[in-house]
């Protein structure tokens, strides 16, 4: 039997990136980032449970530039995954599939997650400054 040359569907790189596909992969990427984040949260809880030394070390990490950078990334990831997750739940209920609506809710997720991240950090700096 001679092999039949069937057409293949184009690879991902062929397609122009669209808001909808970029947001979809970002949902997964932020989910992965948050999986690493929960490790650090559990480390922090364990440090609080076990000893002053471990807790001081954890605090030192969170206060460092690397710690703050990670916290910033995790806070954005959390708000993004939260808002886009709500978008997914709306889809599951059958709402928001029209192209126009999908784009609109997509931009709301982008703007909303940036806004919530900024609000949380401004609140953090104010509260930290006040204490």
């Amino acid at each position: 039997m001679t092999p039949v040359e069937r057409p293949l569907s184009p690879h991902l790189q062929i397609y122009k990136p669209q808001l909808t596909s970029v947001l979809s992969i970002t949902h997964r990427a932020t989910g992965l980032a948050l999986s690493v984040g929960i490790l650090f949260l559990i480390w922090f809880l364990a440090a609080a449970a076990w000893s002053d030394g471990a807790f001081a070390l954890a605090r030192e990490f969170w206060g460092s530039w690397l710690g703050l950078f990670c916290l910033f990334g995790w806070s954005f990831s959390l708000f993004y995954h939260l808002l886009n997750g709500i978008r997914h739940l709306a889809w599951d209920s059958g709402w928001g599939f029209e192209l126009k609506t999908a784009y609109l809710t997509g931009w709301v997720v982008v703007a909303g997650s940036i806004a919530l991240t900024l609000v949380a950090w401004i609140a953090g700096f104010c509260l930290r400054g006040a204490s």
């Binding site: 992965l32 999986s35 929960i38 559990i42 809880l45 364990a46 609080a48 449970a49 002053d52 739940l89």
Partner: protein, 112 residues
């Protein structure tokens, strides 16, 4: 579609719903306790409401995480042996992390 897939799909969404209020509470709570030393932080966390909410949050996150990571593995890890190994590592790690977190919270809640 098998019963397990439906179960997985539904539980991913139920845990997501539970995590909406839990994560918002957690972010607000953490912002309210910035810069505290260990005694102050554990004094707050050992109260019944924060203790129970944190325990539920961590368990819901780990469960939601394991369900999500399994889907990622199914998509990207090829080869049935590698795939089932990776899935079992994820499930066992999530379980181990849940135990560590619950022991830590119990220690904070009921004194060391």
């Amino acid at each position: 579609m098998s019963g397990a897939s439906v179960h997985h799909w539904r539980n991913q969404r139920l845990s997501a719903l539970a995590l909406i209020p839990l994560t918002l509470w957690f972010v607000a709570a953490m912002l309210g306790h910035l810069g505290e030393d260990r005694a102050q932080f554990t004094a707050w966390l050992s109260q019944p409401v924060p203790l129970v909410l944190t325990a539920v949050l961590v368990l819901a996150v780990l469960y939601h995480m394991a369900l999500g990571l399994v889907v990622v593995i199914e998509d990207y890890v090829t080869g049935p042996k590698c795939q089932s190994l990776a899935i079992s590592v994820v499930r066992k790690s999530a379980l181990a992390l849940a135990v560590i977190a619950l022991v830590a919270l119990a220690k904070i809640g009921f004194g060391s």
